[in-house]
Point group: C2
Chain length 431, copies 2
Amino acid sequence: MSGTERLSREAIHDEIFAMGQKARAAGHSLANLGSAEKNGILRAMASELRSRGTAILSANAKDLEAGRGNGLSNAMLDRLRLDESRLEAMADGVEQVARLCDPVGDILDERERPNGIKIQQIRVPVGVIGIIFESRPNVTSDAAVLCLKSGNATILRGGSEAIHSNRAICDALQAGGEAEGLPPFSIQLVPFTDRESVKEMASMDRYLDLIIPRGGKGLIETVVSLARMPVIKHYDGICHVFVDEAADLEMARLIAVDAKTQKPGVCNALETLLVHEEVAGRLLPQIASSLVRRKVELRGCEQVEKILGEVARAATEEDWRTEYLDLILSIKVVASRDEAIKHINRYGSHHTDCIVTEDHKSAEKFLREVDSACTFHNLSTRFSDGEEFGFGAEIGISTDKIHARGPMALRELTSYQYRVRGNGQLKEAPN
Amino acid sequence: MSGTERLSREAIHDEIFAMGQKARAAGHSLANLGSAEKNGILRAMASELRSRGTAILSANAKDLEAGRGNGLSNAMLDRLRLDESRLEAMADGVEQVARLCDPVGDILDERERPNGIKIQQIRVPVGVIGIIFESRPNVTSDAAVLCLKSGNATILRGGSEAIHSNRAICDALQAGGEAEGLPPFSIQLVPFTDRESVKEMASMDRYLDLIIPRGGKGLIETVVSLARMPVIKHYDGICHVFVDEAADLEMARLIAVDAKTQKPGVCNALETLLVHEEVAGRLLPQIASSLVRRKVELRGCEQVEKILGEVARAATEEDWRTEYLDLILSIKVVASRDEAIKHINRYGSHHTDCIVTEDHKSAEKFLREVDSACTFHNLSTRFSDGEEFGFGAEIGISTDKIHARGPMALRELTSYQYRVRGNGQLKEAPN
């Protein structure tokens, strides 16, 4: 909880469960809205975000002030900060979602049985989705509108640092939407920010069909260990590039440099480079010089140290399991493509892994046998992203295998229902 | 644990995690088997089940003897019992699965981006699936072979009552399969049957991608509260038939009788009948007389009691939430289709619910607005079943909304992977 009040566990329980009940009712109404109605609601939300700009920024100023008082780092304050251009990007994002195709109502399968029963498998909303997230206030809007477009009600629980910003954004979305027919309580923000509130949400499988945690490993770990309902999570991105013996070495250098340095703090950035021993001697000095020029610290296996000398320090076992999210790269020389696949399946995070090679048979084996959400051939891992895949906005990149794997967009926020039509079929002859 | 030995928690932990590690390796090999290879393995398994028939039946005799000693009810002993015809049905089931289409490798989506990146979404196995089940030993075979056909390794944990039967069946499957190239440890049976073993499996998200509990509510509840990985469950089937004012009343009577009595102990049997007040007076006496003749106990709301007199006893609030799995039916008169929908969404278990009506507009509204895995128009709820839907065998009927909803067959035992091919694409201009 933020501020001075302290509510009892029971009061928190009661309030969150009451929110759940209202969200369930909202979800049933939302499921019946057509695409045009939902798009009208989304456009009204965008315009409300714009017209409440001053109020949202002054709520954000309160959070920033409190954050400075609580000694937040500059990086954290920057994540928390809204300004006119970030607010405009947020409103623009809502309008972009309005322009995406609505997946609800798609017929996934249709069949008629010999006894005349007609079965349709239809895409429907999931129902109510809980989003548990940390400091970035733009998640409030991004997540809520993707859920809404796919017909779901949301219960959002953000961090204490952004409570005023989140409240102002959530109010703008709900109020703007209601003017165009958004059911009440479609988008709700949990007023508590302590661990107890996560616990209550995690226990509320009666009202929450799915929880998506967005944030650090600690938060996700907590949600996973408590949740009674499905959780779609994204732990980390320990992405690999493997340079095969048959690689175009200049392409390999460019891909490695792009994947590591173009935006090192994101989940699809490169963390470990694997190089076939046949090409390591020629390639590594070139790559190292490009990377060192870009201030990347190199940590290598023994063979890498031999080739690069003091440019690289020794990598430990821990390095192969680390998502640096920083200008650090671990490098390992491998004896074969199969050793590379084995290393990736053992140490990777099943996010995105790439082979660089001109040998198509080798590439196909890698694409198939690496057990990751996205397997790439000859392109930067930075393309592992819902927008780059053409899905429009994404709500995250799942490293799970159930329901959603890889970039998660609107389709992954839906379920399905079988609608079956007969004309009096019985299992047993009537009497 | 069964028997006299008692292992420490640590020993159980170590053994189960070692099984997990082996299953993960087996899963990687299984993912690369083609359909023909898997079908050959399945046929060899069926023939091994047949040739080990005597051994399996004598293992089963041990379980039955122990069960009698432990005072199992006749119903439980019957569930546990194998005989030649049940064993033949089991082997035949394995051969049926060999004949089903293999979903692995299906291309779910394919797109080329303006920058030339080619994206394929391909169906792949989930990986390693944990099955936790109770007394019926045929689950060992049914579940393992469906998982295998879809390219998954399985770790099975059955109940103590069936430990000898499960062991014999599992050994036959693994040995029969290995002769045809089944990777070692593809099908493993946990040697422990206590709660500790469920706990260990539930914590093993590193090696288990999914858990499917099959059994009573208590078992499912335990798994749900402990599991760190996704669980696909089937709590119960509180199925409804709603007879609309525009129903063909004779069809309604036949459907209600069939859905309630054709096999009352299963999840897609009817539990609550809702009748529109406009037709209740005419319909209920007819339905009641058919049901009473078939020894069904009726429990009704006040209006039902008025119409049927002492044929029906008063239903309580609890009745609307009860899955009887028995010759008992609760009946409620409702004022409208919308009241019926509301009742079902509130008290039902989101399994299968049916409207009987000749009014197609009314039917469509019901099919859409009832929030259940399967919504039916004019047919018995008993058709809610993977085989009736044409999916071949089913591993269960999910009342969840994530990943699998309704009858779960081979497709629902798969995940997908994005395989992406480029020719050197970078996010940033090279230098």
